[in-house]
Symmetry: C2
Subunit: 698 residues, 2 copies
Amino acid sequence: MLKKMAKDQGIQEQLRLYLPDLPKGPLDAYRKKATFDWRRMKLAYDNLNTLKLKHDIWSFMESHPLFKHTEATRVLDEERHIATKRMYTIYNEQFLRFEKIAEDPKSFQAESEALFMFDSSLAVKISLTFRMFSNAIQGNGKSHHYPIIEDVEKAKIGGCFALTEVSHGSNAKGMRTTATYIPEKKQFVMHSADFEAAKCWVGSLGKCATHAIVYAMLISKGKNHGLHTFVVPIRDPKTLKPYPGVIVGDLGEKIGLNGVDNGFVMFNNYHLPKEAALDKLGGVDDNGDYQTPFRDPSKRFGAALGILSGGRVHITAISTYYLQKAIVIAIRYSAVRKQFGPENAKEETPVLEYQQQQIRLLPYLAATYAMKIFSVWLSCLHINMTISSYVGEDANAAARGIELHALSSAVKPLFGWTSRDGIQNCREACGGHGYLKAAAIGDLRNDNDANCTYEGENSLLLQQTSNWLLNVWARRETLTADDSPLGSLQFLQNVDQLLQEKCPWNSVQEFMEPANLIHAYKWLTAFMLKMTAEKVALLKGQGKDNFSAKNESQSYNAVTLSVVYGENYVLNNFYKAAQEFDDANCRAVLLKLVALYGSFLLEKHLATLYIGGYLRGEQGLCVREGTLSLCRDISPEAVALVDSLAPPDFCLKSVLGMSDGEAYKHIQSSVMTYPGSMTRPEWWRDVVYWQSYAPSKL
Amino acid sequence: MLKKMAKDQGIQEQLRLYLPDLPKGPLDAYRKKATFDWRRMKLAYDNLNTLKLKHDIWSFMESHPLFKHTEATRVLDEERHIATKRMYTIYNEQFLRFEKIAEDPKSFQAESEALFMFDSSLAVKISLTFRMFSNAIQGNGKSHHYPIIEDVEKAKIGGCFALTEVSHGSNAKGMRTTATYIPEKKQFVMHSADFEAAKCWVGSLGKCATHAIVYAMLISKGKNHGLHTFVVPIRDPKTLKPYPGVIVGDLGEKIGLNGVDNGFVMFNNYHLPKEAALDKLGGVDDNGDYQTPFRDPSKRFGAALGILSGGRVHITAISTYYLQKAIVIAIRYSAVRKQFGPENAKEETPVLEYQQQQIRLLPYLAATYAMKIFSVWLSCLHINMTISSYVGEDANAAARGIELHALSSAVKPLFGWTSRDGIQNCREACGGHGYLKAAAIGDLRNDNDANCTYEGENSLLLQQTSNWLLNVWARRETLTADDSPLGSLQFLQNVDQLLQEKCPWNSVQEFMEPANLIHAYKWLTAFMLKMTAEKVALLKGQGKDNFSAKNESQSYNAVTLSVVYGENYVLNNFYKAAQEFDDANCRAVLLKLVALYGSFLLEKHLATLYIGGYLRGEQGLCVREGTLSLCRDISPEAVALVDSLAPPDFCLKSVLGMSDGEAYKHIQSSVMTYPGSMTRPEWWRDVVYWQSYAPSKL
């Protein structure tokens, strides 16, 4: 007992070390209402190690001139310049060495969070230039490729990852970049037939990268062996000039993430040594005959799928960061923004007290916690799977890989969309001032937007999940626990009996019980799968081919199925984490958040619950009433809940969301220090003497 | 008969004059599938006069160097500079003289469309600087103010409109700018207590305006008479320097509309002559005693409300323009973007053929037509009301004004949100390339975003509608046609009997009949009103005061009620316009769009239809199936439908959406001509020699 107290006190001291007191001010009233310790709440997804890591990175940034915020948006070239300098500066510090990730897999996402919270372009670039490039060589290359990894580790060269082509993205089979083997020269000739075959959207290729991992059709002896990877020199590392045969350029401005120099590249009969092929998993021998070490291709394919899920796994975290920042800004501002009030009241009411403001923000606050806990868990799972794939056999690797592929193909879209909608709600909930660039919400929306289309456009990616689920449904009688090492198929337990059920609850209280919400979600997931399977069967029964039957069972069926499957898993993961959290005060609030997240999700599918016969009469009203009543319950906790999620103010960079709550003072300061804000424009004569360029006809 | 044919041919010739043939190319296949004439379809909302006006404006722009598009985003100061020069250049041309608006009220929106389609900042600025300013003086001033109108008409001065304060937007009663009358000097002293009382978000004030319409609390003899308007000199029209006592500046960057110089202003005991008061409707006499000409304040209040709806009426049109551009881009690109296809197919399939692509785009195509037709109608209604208020009595002016206030307070949010969601769907439906700045969808989203919060944050504004509807519900037994000159209360006919009904349809075909969809919407609107009224009554019965009862009946009730009321009116308006359209081929397609719009709207409220007992069993599935089947029917018409909506290519400025359908060629050209895209950056040494600023620790 004493030991536990001493340990507790040690934790408390360290928490205070990494998380200093927040400034006093207009937010105090709400902070006092909270029933839990905001620092302790961090341990729902962080640990002392990750808190220290983030603290170290942020302290470094805060003391470094390169990491100072400027009010005015930079022109494109300057955006790219500063993102590049920040990248090398941070990488050089080696805050998280590779071996530390294995010791504490959570540290991987902590580092990523620290970077994304400050500057998403910096974070994206560092990951592309160093990590993704090395991983691709590690996974697909042989020992003679390892010197390239050493070069990139020492930042002598910089990498990038070239898969997408101008006219082919998701349909990888349609890609047209070729690498033709010439046995006489022991060389490949890489070629792009035209601009439509150019590799594009390659992050860090526009200005910086010296080498690219290129996916190209391997052609040997007249036969196309499909997509293979090559490591291709693009620019001379000493001059940054492109090599002859390489036409490389920058894609220009994007909606967001403008510090990242996305580029395109075309190859004009570009000769590469045979060693450019990353051929561990398959390639040609010196004579041009195809060789592969695979014995049981299907199992290896499954394991490979799981590791390739890395991009999607990372995006679930990235989406979460953006929403995390937006919700902090919107809730803090809603707590200090006062408007209207009861008749004869002395003060106006904080807008956070209004029902419609609560319903727009608090379900997304709950979602942020669910997503945060889930994405950290998923990232650790993926790291552990990658490590075990390096060190040796894992009996369940194939099944786990396949399930992770399906799960990550559902949650990547789900989180991208949840952030999209949550950020938009935050933006509107901040009213007119939310439209200020200095409020910072617009940039979050613009950056998150990429999450909805990269690594697979969301709607399309969801087919990966629904295809698997439909396959599983067909063999549901014979499923075993081995088919679902991650437990995402638990909703299929006794599914026939489950689908006979009618919802037995008739009070708000019953509906809002987390266990009941979770049960209702189980029913919904099973029903969506059954309905989609029946729709496909119906279409095939009408004589449609596989392609048409799949196509015509997407909307309201397969697409929704995949989303619901993802939601169901995330909800269960959140519930489990909340129940297991050891601090009782935090746990109580987390369980309310679980209920709010669950009821908010369920409300969106009410119509389907009626169509499927699970709900009847006015039961749906209980879900709506319950959602509103949970919002009311959680509103006094909201400010402390976002204090726990918030990065330091210098990362948030929002006049509305600073930890001191002094929104109007920050607006004033920002507005008045914006370059040129108080002075007459240089071009004032074009206002007064407009006739000088438009001779008056008035 | 012959006469009709001759007239028809005359129309056809003029249509061809203003709407030249579209270039041949990859879109031809879809264009050939259309069953109607895309030029003729324009007449659903345009006429030959408005087509000529737009043609004249666009021809002028196309031939003028100031209206050339540049690839790279300008820095803020340059954005403002060019928007200002374009404003004077266009205004000087006087494309639409005031008297022409009375002759053809549709011309007002045609001019606005022509400007918004090219550059939204230009359009906003021209409207604020000239029209809104003049209108405010016309409406609230006396004859001695009219010289100011002449000055602004000759562009000797420039106006702006200052209502919102830093800490008070929607709550006008809380505003704190004061104008205190000093009888000895016959002057007002205007004062802002602090930055929170500064007027802000004032369009065109940041850099340009010389005069402002300012709303301030009129104080005389120690008494606060509430908000009144004043015309206040801000800057010297000869030098653009602010007058002493005026602290004026620019709000800096925003999420969008960065050509508009939104500003703020504080007054420091700034003395104004008594004539600064725009006191036609009330003010102080020389002695400081309050005088007003009103006899029956309630009637005049109603009429005034109707005229003040102008801002909201205009925003319904503005939201429509943005969606109009986005849907053109997304549908044209979806028709030429090919990806995947049936096994063994020779060509890949255009993505427009995929069900999930259709459901994301085609309902918004239908919505665009509904919104276009409605917003033109609403604009004409508002112009006619304004004119009749100038020329004399209109027996129904008060009731019409009140109803227009309620209706515009519903459709402004509805259209802002529909565009928000529609544009986002367009953005995602364009996949990765939609993230290019040159695709132009990001800017549309950023510009439209303002529509969701200005002239009243959407959720808040909807209370204006629901408050009126609840009031109407309480006296529904005694309503007459005079209560609803615009017919928006028709859903209350025989309402008690209506609400007893159960939905009688069980087939997709029955559900998709426009008249049936419209009937279902009538039921839904009535039910939402009844449910909200009962909720308010219940809360009051629990002892809640008016403020709390209203607050706690917003989400899922009053907010949804107002939206549904707006949707119901727009749907009916669309149906009527489609039925009355004289071209049979166009009419048939328009009626399909009516059905799609109706079923798409209804689907969003399926759960409420079940809760209210209107639907039961699997009826909801018919609505979903019907929506999908309408999408399939309309997809061959989609390209011609957007050809009809599309502005000229130089306005669209989208590499994905040009009328020749050559998306990849335009991407190539845009990417390769972007300044610096193919060259090594100036800062290449910071990549190669990064150790120069970050001494290596690697």
